[in-house]
Symmetry: C2
Subunit: 319 residues, 2 copies
Amino acid sequence: MSSSEFDLIDRYFSGLNSSDKTVICGIGDDAAVLDISAEHFLLTSVDTLISDVHFMADTDPADIAYKSLAVNISDIAAMGGTARWATLALTMPEAGHDWLQAFAKGFSEIAERYKVSLVGGDTTQGPLAVTIQIMGTVSRGQSIRRNKAQAGDLIYVSGSLGSAGLAYQATLDKSLRQYVSESCTQRLHRPEPRVELGKQLNHFAHAAIDISDGLVSDLGHLLKASELGAEVELDKIPFCPELMELDKQQRWSIALAAGDDYELCFTLTQASEAEMQRQLEELDYPVTCIGKITDSSGIVWLDEKGEKVELQLEGYQHF
Amino acid sequence: MSSSEFDLIDRYFSGLNSSDKTVICGIGDDAAVLDISAEHFLLTSVDTLISDVHFMADTDPADIAYKSLAVNISDIAAMGGTARWATLALTMPEAGHDWLQAFAKGFSEIAERYKVSLVGGDTTQGPLAVTIQIMGTVSRGQSIRRNKAQAGDLIYVSGSLGSAGLAYQATLDKSLRQYVSESCTQRLHRPEPRVELGKQLNHFAHAAIDISDGLVSDLGHLLKASELGAEVELDKIPFCPELMELDKQQRWSIALAAGDDYELCFTLTQASEAEMQRQLEELDYPVTCIGKITDSSGIVWLDEKGEKVELQLEGYQHF
C-alpha cells in the first residue's frame, strides 16, 4: 500500500474500528494483523494494479498476473509471515480467451512457487484492473511491524536496489535503454517477494517494510510510523550493477526513488547482528547494513566522507 | 459471486489448489472456507461493484458503500458465519472530498451495525469500482455449504422477495414506478444481510445460499452444486406486497429473476422443521417453505393447482 493511498483511506475511515480488540494492527502497515486463533495471527493486505498506472496495457498478461500476486506476497513477507490464500477481483474490457489463459498461467506459476491458494474470485467488465487480497499467517506475537524501530538500530536492506526502477525508467527515457539487462526487465515484471528472509527476520528484526515505492519513501514510512529518523550511507547501498555506469545523482535517483524493488528494509540492534548473520547463512541471500536509526526525524543521506548530501529525486517519484 | 463470474474464474484457475488441505471449500460457494485454527474456520469472499453495472453512477455514495459491504456480509451470512473484517479497494475518477466523505459515512454505518472492522485499503484512479473482501469466522465444521442439499429436504426462503428488483426495474420501465414504495427503494440501496438468521441456520440447514441474482439463479446454483432438483409452489413464495398489484407473470419475473433480495434460501429435513421454528422464534424474522428438493435436476414451478408452469423470465435477467 503506497503512502498516498494509505493516507486517503486513513483520513476518511479512521476511528471506524477503534474498539475491535481482534485488530492488532489495522490500516497503516504492509498488512493488517488480526487475532483469529490461539496459534496464529491472520495477516491480510489488498492491492489494486491498474492498466497504464502500475503496468503498461500491452504487458504480457502472464507478467501482470505474476507481479500482482508477487507484490501482495511481498506485503506478507515484510510482516514476517507466510502467504497462504488469495482472492482475485479482475476487471477486464472483454473476457478474451488468450488473455485469460496467459493471465491464469502467470498467476499459477507464482501461486505454486509460493504455495498460495486462490480461494475466491470475481470478474467484472471495465478497464483492466487487478485487485488481489492476500491472506497469510504468522505465529502469535511474531509479526514484524513498521512502527517498532528503535534509536540506535542498524538499518539493513536485502538484495540489490534499482534494477526494476531502471527497466521502468528506460521505458520513459530512451537514453537509459543501453543499461537495461535481462535481469532488470525480469525484476520489473516478475519481482520475487522475500518470503524466506521475512520468516527469518521475525526472530530478530525490530521493524520491517517492503520496498515498493523506493527506499526514500518506504524507509520514510518506517521512520514516520516509528517516530524516529535515520542516517544512511549512500556508498553502502547495494546498487544493482547496471546502475554503476550512470553518474551518482542518476544512480541514487533510480535506486532510491523509482521503486519496484520488493526487497525488504529492516532494523535490528547491533547486538543481534551476529545472530542474524548466522541465521541467514543457510538462506544464502545477501543483506547489507546501510545506516542506523536516530532519534531525530527524516533521513540524513551521507556520502563516503560522512558529509550530508541533498538528494534530488524530482522526476523519479514512483508512478 | 454470480454464476458467470464463478464460471470464468473456475474455468481458467481450476486445479490451482487441489493439494491444499487447508482449503475446505474454495471457489464456487458464497465464501471460501479455510482451515486456520483449532476453533474456527476462516470464511472469505470478494465482490466488485462497478458503476453503471451494479449501481447507477449518480447513486448516493453512502448507498454505494452501504450496499457494497452489505452484499459481502450477506455471503458470510449464507455460510452461517459471523462477518468480522473487511478490506476495501476503491477505484475513483477523482478523490473528491464530498464523495469520499459520503462514501465513508455509508460504509461506517453498516460496518458499525454488523461489527465489521475495515482493516486494509487501497485507492486507485480510474472508473468508479468498489471491491470489498470480507472475512468472517464460523465454528469448525459449522459452515453451511450450497452443495449439501438432500432429496426430500424442504426449501425455505427468508423475508419477502421482489422489493429491490421492483425498484430496479422501475428505473428501466416507467410504468412500474407507481408500484415502488419507499421500502422497495430502501431494499435496493441498503439491503440488510440476514446475519442472525444465518447463524441460527447452521444448527439445522443442510444447504444455504443468499439470493443476489434472484431465486431462479440462486436456487439453481444450490441445486447444481448439490446435483439435485426442486419443486417450487409459486403461490407459496413470499412476494413483497407491492408486487401483488401486478399480473402474475410480471410478479413472478420480478420476484424470481430481478435479484438484489439478499434473503437466504436454505434447505432442511422435514424432521428438523419444528426445531427450526422454535429456534427462530426469538429472531422474529419470517421464513417460508416454498417447496422441496427432488432427486431430478432443475426447478419445476407449480401453480396453485399443482400444475407445471413455464416461467418466462426473458428481459428480467439480473444485470
